[in-house]
Amino acid sequence: MLMNTSLKEWKGKIRPDGPGKVTGGIKYLTDLTFPNMLYGKILRSSEPHAEIVSISTDLARKLPGVRAVVTYKDVPGLNGYGIIFPDQPVLCKDKVRYVGDALAAVAADTEEIAEKALGLIEVNYRRLPVIDSTEKALEPGAPLLHPDGNILHRAGYSIGNVEDGFQKSFVIIEETYDVPRQMHAYMETEGGVIVPEPGGKITVYAGTQHGFKDRFQLSRILNIPEKDIRIVSSPMGGSFGGKDELNIQPYGALLALAANCPVKIHQSRQESVKAGLKRHPMKITVKTGADKNGKILAHKVKIIADTGAYATLGPAILDFAVEHVSGPYKIPNMETEGLSVFTNNGVAGEFRGFGGNQITFALEGQMDRLAEKLQIDYLEFRRLNLREAEDPGPLGQRIAPTNGATHVLEAIQKSFFKRADLRNEKGDLNERWKARGTGAAITMHGGGLGAGRMDPAGGRLSFTKDGKIAAAFGFEECGQGLLSVIETILLEEFNCLDKDISIVIGDTDLVPVSGSSTASRATSMVWHSLQKMKDSFRSQMIDLAELATGTPANRMEMGPGGIWLKDAQQSGEAYLSFADLASALVQDRSISVQTSFDFPVSPDATVAGSHFLYAFAAVIVEVEVDILTGRVKVTGMEQAVSAGPVVSPMGYRGQIEGGGAMALGYTLMEHSIIEKGIYLNDNFDTYLIPTIFDVPFEMITEAVEELYEGDEFGPRGVGEIGTVAVAPAIAQAIYNATGCWINKLPVSPELILEKVSFMEGDKWM
């Protein structure tokens, strides 16, 4: 990896959660068992859209081994959930709106009995017309899915005068881009155990990306105070946004309280597909005009997002897409209109990239088509329109100045030329029946939840009685390597050893409020928290050392294993070990520093959700198209990323490569197909994600760590950025290989085959 990092020495560092993960010793929350534990199962709707005439659970209750059955009647508090607003019923009463809607839940001695009991619950439905497309939902007179109609959210932005801009344009490209419903496909399906505790309390052991949010939502549903609910949420077998919203927790909790026993629910893959969130499918119609010299003059965009049956984070995702409509480019005249539309097609929600992937595919597609029409090199065309460091953000707001766009574009341009040389060297690349092409794309991606959204962050540092520097954060470990990030930053700041520290995350009883582990914010917020806490913590530690030893504070500093004398650093041992220092923690004396603050937002953010900190990425890919079948294979991928200093090189690279592969799947094969409201691919036999054969054997990640002069915001997260610009790069590469423009994902080999079908003039022999 081309990574020129100041933190190189940590390269060989082993993740704190590593040993447990490679030995199988670590317990995921779905691995837990408790005495007297029951197994829960959730009855989901068989209809995508229907009125519920009746639900009868009598037979199920009588089945031996069944310990509890719950329906809407058993929800003590609010029968609804949703991160933004709670429009999704926990247990449906009179209507179902998608096939994942829950009607009842059963706890039984075994999973088999619980499953049989589900079969004994009789539900009578009165079918309603299925709204299986946004077009249908928007028809006048369409049945209303929610009291306020079928439009969940509208968002827009405009500046200048687009019609004017088009008038002055020399070329105009108009195109509709169609992007699919992608499944998170985390390997661990949703699950966990909910344990009733004495005094009406409960502990919820289940993955989530925001423990405190779950606690808040569960409190509302169960009608018990938040302080009586404890959420333990790490480790998780992947999430990618998909486990941020509640999933099995309310059912487990209702059953556990009803049966007064711990209840485990672990969804099967089919259940997960049916109930789980997906990435929003969108249809994006774009008209873009540019002048003769390649300056973009006008950009008019209409986004229609299929948000499915309930809101969850749908509105915020649409806002994000609207914000990123122009990406890293300066466009004087713009008009964007976005609609997030309810349908009976599952539920779409948070997913790594948060609307950015969809809109970037459309934007970069336009850039490619315009460049081609203008006969300008497509990277050069991007450079011509690229933002400069101090330009305002995409919604006109002030943002932290950054040269990231230029940096990543330059990095990829260099490698593009290198690759061209390589291509020329290898003579035999043009083997028969294969067409090859290279493509590139860039993106700009906001971090944090954005302006006008509650986005608190924080953390706590304390010195424990057993001599450990303990860091506590309310973040979750979903695999992204957060523990490693925290450890690395602690070791850096305090120059101590990994045995000197202990880290607590993912347990609402033990950690301070830190906000969600989403929106590429956790790494960044850990760093910010520690910046705010480190000085105070350090001086308290040294003060304590002074108290214990009588040595003046100014002669001491923190170091490996304990407190060191500044002038005696060479003498192999600490002056006062942390353990000895801890014994000075007598009686009421303690060291604990806590911070809470908000994620930085633009001082003049007028549009909800607009960002202040952005990261950038450029991607270059090589593809090989089989002209006999139209199949595309990505043979090379390189990403240049500008997201500030690298905290953990292994984690950084892993995020970019993993994101790249996930986006490759999005581009070439992943499509959660819903027909008339029913999922057609319900497991990994038909919903295919990339295997080791589908990704380039070697992917390259280049980190541009440089920040703009005076930038004090440190590392940005890279959880999402690696997924954003891959699809348009592949589409461009396919065009270069075959002359076939791609405006629909996943790329259809059928379409390519039609285009290339026995290329004119070519002969079989």
């Binding site: 060989g12 082993i14 993740r15 959660d17 590593g18 040993p19 447990g20 993960k21 490679v22 030995t23 199988g24 010793g25 670590i26 317990k27 995921y28 691995d31 068992t33 998170h184 496909a185 985390y186 390997m187 661990e188 399906t189 480790p235 998780m236 077998g237 992947g238 990618f240 099967s268 893959r269 979903c478 695999g479 992204q480 390597g481 292994m650 984690g651 690279r653 892993g654 490569e657 993993g658 994101g659 790249g660 592969a661 996930m662 497991n683 990994f684 036999d685 994600i689 990339p690 295997t691 080791i692 054969f693 990704v695 054997f697 070697e698 992917m699």
Partner: protein, 181 residues
């Protein structure tokens, strides 16, 4: 009729059970289970070996992979009667006194993120390297093609495999030197 039948076939209201004998991670085990019960449940529930995961339950992801008589199998597709008399090795059985070189390589190279595919992946790598000490790129891909990983994009896994090959070969050379002495 001289037919061995594992259990009584006459319809009986009692759940059908067999006495299963097998070796798991070197220990002899005896269990009374349904003949068609899945090995993955047997391992996770009856033997509390939760290192073996599941994700698709139809042989499509590899998170449940274990070795049965030294061969890689999906424990979600092995029924109890098929495991009778066999020797099973799970992720928990890999590390003896110290980590297996493959496990170390996964740690050193970042061959995992969420870690949920990791036990199955490591068992697949182990099977691969048992078979080919110096696998080609194609052999590596084929050996791991049944194990899905959603987090890493396989980059870290591939580097871990390469590192494991190196580690193992070095061990071998050291071993050889020791033997000469």
């Amino acid at each position: 009729m001289d037919v061995k039948k594992v259990i009584m076939a006459t319809p009986s209201p009692q759940p059908v059970k067999i006495e299963l004998e097998l070796e798991v991670n070197g220990f002899h085990r005896q269990l009374t289970v349904a003949p068609a019960a899945r090995l993955v449940d047997l391992l996770r529930e009856d033997l509390e070996l939760t290192g073996t995961k599941f994700s698709c339950e139809v042989g499509r992801c590899g998170t449940c992979a274990v070795h049965m008589d030294n061969k890689l199998v999906n424990s979600c597709l092995v029924m109890a009667y098929q495991a009778n008399g066999t020797s099973i090795c799970t992720i928990e059985g890999l590390a003896e006194r110290s980590l297996d070189p493959i496990q170390s390589a996964f740690l050193e190279e970042g061959g995992f993120q969420c870690g949920y595919c990791t036990p199955g992946m490591i068992m697949a790598v182990k099977a691969l390297l048992n078979y080919h000490a110096n696998p080609t790129e194609e052999q590596i891909k084929e050996g791991l093609s049944g194990n899905l990983c959603r987090c890493t994009g396989y980059g870290g896994i591939i580097r871990a495999v390469q590192r494991a090959i190196k580690n193992l070969n070095e061990n071998e050379i050291e071993g050889a030197v020791g033997w000469k002495k």
